[in-house]
Symmetry: C2
């Protein structure tokens, strides 16, 4: 039989009440006694039964996903997974809901975060650009006792933070390598398009992409990044200009997470045979484009894993357990038409 708190009390030579005080970090226990309890924990191999603990807590865990208010298909995929988790989690007293953040004004976003109380949330997974306002809001949330996890978008300045998402530099490098290998002998220019270069994610992807191409493929040259600002007209315009300026465009790297608009716009341009196109994130649009041969590969991260991993991490933190790092690493996936 697994040792219980009762066994632990006996082994440590203290009462159940004291064991409870130590295990839950309550005040009013002498250091000597605390040590004795920990010693006994080691000695008899006590491990708290989380099932019983959760039940006794009365309320399970409630986690929030703070996401940008505006987005497209990729955001939609994430929302879907969160709702699925919420439904599936009810039976295990886990709740997952969505909080929307202003994606234009960091101050408003930070204010939204600062209104979140530990009464309402045990943990928050945050997908937001790395601004000083957001960073401060995160620090203050932690002080209030709410666990926080950067989600999809990294917050590098907050040290220690385990991040739920992919290494964007490696993702960019992966795209670069595939681009070059798919192009084979062919040389020429590569066009890179994203929504905005403001975000660290875009910068890192570009960095990774370039590092591979410039090191190993001198016949290819990567053009300056074009910014679409998620606007169809602007997308059409920058693409038109780029195609006019460079006659030898051999590859197209859609670096942002929302490829729907660029893909639609691209259909109005001629499709030169042999052009290689690579996009990010598996969405209805990129799936269809892969099937139709409009794009050659998709670099993606699994939204379901993102959500589940974030919840596992926040829960483990609440119960101050550690997580298996090996199991929480989000993979950089490569999709082609055959393994969609």
């Amino acid at each position: 039989m697994r040792p219980t708190t009762k066994d632990l009390a006996k082994a440590a030579g203290v009462s159940l009440a004291t064991v409870d005080r130590v295990l839950n970090g309550r005040a009013g226990v002498r250091k000597k006694t605390v040590d004795a309890v920990y010693e006994a924990i080691e000695r008899i191999g006590f491990e708290r039964n989380q099932v019983a603990a959760t039940l006794a807590r009365q309320r399970g865990y409630r986690f929030g996903f703070a996401l940008p208010r505006h987005g497209d298909e990729f955001l939609e995929e994430i929302l879907k997974r969160i709702h699925e988790m919420d439904r599936a989690g009810r039976a295990e007293m886990l709740q997952a809901d969505v909080i929307r953040l202003d994606d234009q004004d960091p101050h408003r976003a930070a204010r939204t975060l600062s209104r979140l109380s530990p009464e309402d949330y045990d943990g928050i997974a945050i997908m937001a650009p790395e601004t000083p306002q957001i960073r401060d809001a995160l620090v203050r949330m932690q002080e209030r006792g709410i666990q926080t996890v950067p989600f999809v978008s990294n917050q590098k300045r907050l040290d220690d933070q385990t991040f739920v998402g992919i290494d964007n530099k490696a993702a960019g490098a992966t795209a670069g390598r595939l681009m070059a290998r798919f192009l084979g002998q062919r040389g020429g220019a590569i066009l890179v398009l994203t929504e905005s270069m403001q975000s660290r994610d875009s910068l890192e992807r570009r960095l990774g992409f370039d590092s591979v191409i410039t090191r190993d493929y001198p016949a290819l040259r990567v053009l300056p990044t074009l910014e679409s600002h998620a606007d169809p007209l602007r997308t059409a315009q920058v693409l038109r200009n780029a195609f006019a300026a460079h006659g030898d465009i051999a590859g197209l790297y859609l670096m942002g997470p929302e490829a729907r608009i660029p893909l639609e716009v691209l259909r109005s341009f001629p499709f030169p045979p042999g052009r290689v196109t690579i996009a990010h994130e598996r969405t209805p649009s990129t799936e269809q484009a892969l099937r139709d041969g409009e794009i050659d590969a998709v670099i993606s991260q699994d939204p379901g894993h993102l959500v589940r991993s974030a919840m596992r991490i926040m829960r483990a933190r609440c119960e101050n357990r550690s997580t298996l790092a090996s199991q929480e690493r989000i993979r950089i996936e490569v999709l082609i038409a055959e393994n969609i």
Copy 2:
């Protein structure tokens, strides 16, 4: 507040005991009463609190992974993940252990399975070739009330069965497409090596691989599959013969899950520039080979996801809940040096 069994009893106009009988499928309740309870479940939106249920059951869930007795690195990875899950699961009253099956004699393997009692295991995930003996053993286990899930190796004949693993035909097709695209304009012969063509998995991979190459790449021709039987000497011999017989070998497809021996043997042959090699499963050997440029891509399935998914599915079945199919689909991963 979420409705409890007590609320359900009141809503259905029956007693707690009857609710319990219905929820746990015990005998001795009139159909009319059963229906009334189910109606009330729908009406008030009752959902059993699994946390409390697990606690009350006294014993949590115990799952077994029936794996072949012999294997190499890939099997080792899976074992590692199972042990990790076992440790991590203790706090949630989940146990995962390993049962070893004879991989030469299906009768012995079936006998091992037939000795497993519902007292000992709530569910078994099985990785074994699809033989009549194994199939019968699985059917009998289900009858005894042990949940079973085919694991990594599919058992197609058992209908309904949700399978934990990848679609091997698609995996083969993925390998084929990458092989062809990496080869570019180059034509020639492709050598396919596996441990044994006895297994359905190998057949399906080969099928998928061929379908892509023969349909889209007439300049490539896929040679008959070579069998290594996991034996270094035999591997060296069949490779030597193949290299001697075909001067134009452009690609190498290591189709089996254990690439260590073939990779080691290959080092004793000259390495023609431009040759493309693709293997399966991420292991220390394939990782290193990717880094060293000995192979170009690895098609893999994440052992951690395999194990966790199998446990989620078995648990859901025990609690007769349904699983989110979308979340349990195992991805066919593509690894290159950049996204290891």
